[in-house]
Symmetry: C2
Subunit: 307 residues, 2 copies
């Protein structure tokens, strides 16, 4: 595990070149994110990545994302927003093998702490899905804790989003919920991806991760079933027209890895949205504002709901 907190000549050159040269589709949810180099407290050159400007609490949280930037208007106005509750029969399900999931083991890549999530860079690593003859290449995968999608109202401790993009810029997300195992069994791809987590506890830091067994994951997912629907980015700007494929069967996760991800990432799950086509839950809430009525005497006398 190379942490970039010390200066090696070969790396230094690449770091300097890296300034503002982040590849397309590099960073959370395919926004262009710049990496840059900075001197740390020990006067060493350190590679950093820009952190997200949105958050999950208070005034930068999901109820206020549209207020952060006019470009985020879909967050409060869109009618096919993600995540959603996946209840039996509400959306189509398809067999995993129809997605033609291709992933090779990854020898080395980057793990980044974007503030809003931790993310593994997959651009150029050859992972893809192909649906109806159209290929989407995996740009990155990142984690939400707790899960964003729910299944019959139940959430899961972790959800992995593998973000894929086609040549025409359209986006597909392969999403996998994780359930904690009682026997310590786990999904090796996740634990291997998070091996460098202790080195990137500060938002904006990044490290190298090695030997990611993604081919195993591809095999497991190909044997799965997926719920699929047209939704949105679950982070600003909440762009719609994103196709989700959410595994119907959560994969196993061990407590130690879960606790460590949760400690670094904190809470980073957008609240569940209305069913596709329904009014945006924030728009609905706001339309009520003008209908506010004064409390009746009886209501004032029963401040605790009629007690």
């Amino acid at each position: 595990m190379v942490s970039f907190t010390y200066l090696r000549p070969a790396i230094a050159a690449s770091l300097l070149l890296d300034i503002s040269s982040a590849s397309c589709a590099h960073g959370t949810h395919l926004a262009r994110r710049s990496t840059y180099s900075t001197l740390n407290a020990r006067n060493e050159l350190e590679k950093r990545v820009d952190v997200s400007t949105f958050g999950y609490h208070g005034l930068t949280g999901p109820t206020n994302w549209d207020a952060l930037d006019p470009a985020n208007s879909a967050c409060s106005a869109g009618r096919t927003q993600s995540p959603i509750d996946l209840t039996g029969g509400s959306v189509k399900t398809i067999a995993g093998n129809t997605l033609n999931i291709t992933m090779s083991d990854v020898a080395t890549t980057e793990l980044e702490n974007l503030g809003s999530t931790v993310e593994v860079i997959m651009a150029g690593k050859g992972a893809s899905i192909t649906i109806d003859g159209k290929t989407f290449n995996m740009a990155q995968y990142h984690f939400h804790t707790p899960s964003e999608h729910t299944i019959d109202g139940e959430y899961f401790p972790l959800e992995m989003h593998m973000v894929h993009q086609a040549a025409d810029s359209s986006i597909s997300v392969l999403a996998v919920p994780f359930q904690l195992s009682t026997d310590g069994s786990t999904t090796e791809t996740v634990t291997a991806s998070m091996a460098g987590l202790a080195e990137i506890t500060t938002p904006g830091t990044l490290t190298e991760v090695t030997a990611l067994p993604l081919s195993k994951l591809a095999t497991a997912l190909s044997a799965q079933t997926f719920s699929t629907y047209s939704g949105s980015l679950t982070t600003p700007p909440c762009t719609e027209g994103i196709t989700f494929y959410v595994a119907t069967k959560p994969m196993a996760m061990d407590v130690a890895t879960y606790n460590s991800i949760k400690a670094v990432v904190g809470f980073n799950s957008r609240f569940v949205q209305n069913a596709p086509g329904g009014v945006n839950v924030l728009a609905s809430s706001r339309s009520m504002k003008s209908k506010k009525t004064k409390k009746t005497k009886a209501e004032v006398a029963k401040p605790y709901g009629g007690q």
Copy 2:
């Protein structure tokens, strides 16, 4: 464990008397909740409890609680709403022994599935806290999953709310976050409380629970430190003036119990509110509606955040 799904003469009499006679402060968050009897599919008399009218998803979820009832206006207008993020130094901390926590082991009581949570009835069981000479009696305790309060931005898998009320109707909540243990260790009071969970998977059902080791919990909590602040009910009607005491150190929880609670309750955590005194996050969001601007050409051309 008596499940009330069969008819015994002694119980039947109490069931019939129970119709609309629920004690004050019985039910979630001290709202008066009625229990009643109904014939089940096997023509047996079955005791039930009213379920909550609010939810945690879509149009009945936390972003829309104020739209469900004008009495819920504090949910979107209040400035001391709960839960909040507890960051070092943001609120006062006190030693647990200053709360004079009193809890005896409970021989038998009710566990109810209210749809919005699962709740153990503690009215009349003698549990209390006494602060500055004022005594608050425990009415019930219930669970939120994942936790509602966060500590330095981190959430926890479970949060227990022990709701206490004084003679003057004022309310104090003793809140305890739980962290999953890697070695299977757990908090006996929680596992004992949930022993009948499999019998109440349907909202509105209830069962008996026995032998709850609450005195152990009281001892553990008395040795803890608590963050304290004046907040609100975390469910409709979001009434303010509620004093929270949130344990600063999460207690241990085993995966099997956590998974079973999560499967029955689903997601039931209100999103984190602004710091006490700050503008309500929903009110802030709504005030932006009138400031919406049309997308510029550049924004339309960069639907994925500048990629």
